[in-house]
Symmetry: D3
Subunit: 81 residues, 6 copies
């Protein structure tokens, strides 16, 4: 211990994952004073349809936020006529 | 929070997973009174040889249950002679 | 399957947890068509110092948001003099 | 319950995973006295760049250990001249 | 690796948990051929209101099964009059 | 995402856990380029009888290592007579 399960969206390169693991390991060594060899990190990657916030995928969420912004601007445009 | 890890057998469509995530999110919003945006769901899918009940895959288990049923019926047939 | 690990902040009553488990189970039965008996839910509760967003506990985060709001209002007040 | 999540390196055959699941199930039945049908095992497999000890993949770690051994032997060789 | 997360109902003694960990470790060593030192087991215990099957705690489920058995016997008794 | 489950031995102070969460969050922001607000960390703490390496608790393991060292030294002492 510490043992970490790290959930990431798919799409990182091997190099990025290695860098993240090294950085997190160092962070734990310096903040908790644990031995470097005791830190174990497991990465699990999730595809677009395997992660949801508010019941929406990241894509659906971006679209919902964009729509919300556009409809917030529309009354203003309407007034501007 | 809530943060959910949902383990499923492989084979669901993207639409089914989206529907499940939406339904579970609504269930948590209405039962716990949490904000919709605070609900995060992570899906991990498992293949046939990555899930075991009684030390058997679902396929082995179905066959075992079928065999048990057949051998339960056989003495009856034997008697029926 | 489905098997769910549900992470919650500490502080819910037993009744709330039961209600959440029932609601989530029904959500999965109706959205995925699984048998009710196949749904297993494990709850793990986390204390204030066991959950972090942006490296902050929920308490630290509320205070940070409050401070940000107050400092955003201050220039306006200053101008208003 | 018991419900087990078993993290393995990728590369085991289906037969090996089945054997492991059966052996672990029997181990739990005999040591805890649980019913065989109550034991559920979920396997998650991790690739070379999804598991880190000391911030290193297994490959990097083997190379680091080999280098350490070689540099430990070198002073001896140097002395041997 | 293997790294196992083992979810158990609360109530086992320390000795039972040690025995289970030893038995599972031996099971993995003999079935997968891994080194004993590479096997890590994490136990998480869950209270009565932190584990649900069919949306019911184990207690609710036992009562539901008992009720189902009793109501299955009642028509027979009624007929027997 | 990233969402991290961090398993620790019991016994850290709240301050140590906060420091670890901050350090790990910064490590992920700088190595993966993710937004600070997207990093969620869940800590689960395990008691002495809830974590096993080689089927032994940390205490049993220390004693086993000590015994191994002592018995490794004994033949030498015996020879030294």
């Amino acid at each position: 211990m510490p043992i970490l399960e790290m959930h990431l969206m798919k799409g990182r390169t091997e190099e990025q994952k290695c860098n993240a693991a090294k950085a997190v390991t160092e962070a734990l060594v310096s903040s908790l004073g644990v031995k470097r060899e005791s830190v174990r990190i497991l990465i699990t990657e999730h595809g677009e349809h395997d992660f949801f916030v508010s019941g929406m995928t990241m894509k659906e969420r971006s679209q919902a936020q964009l729509s919300a912004q556009q409809s917030a601007q529309q009354p203003l445009n309407a007034e501007g006529k």
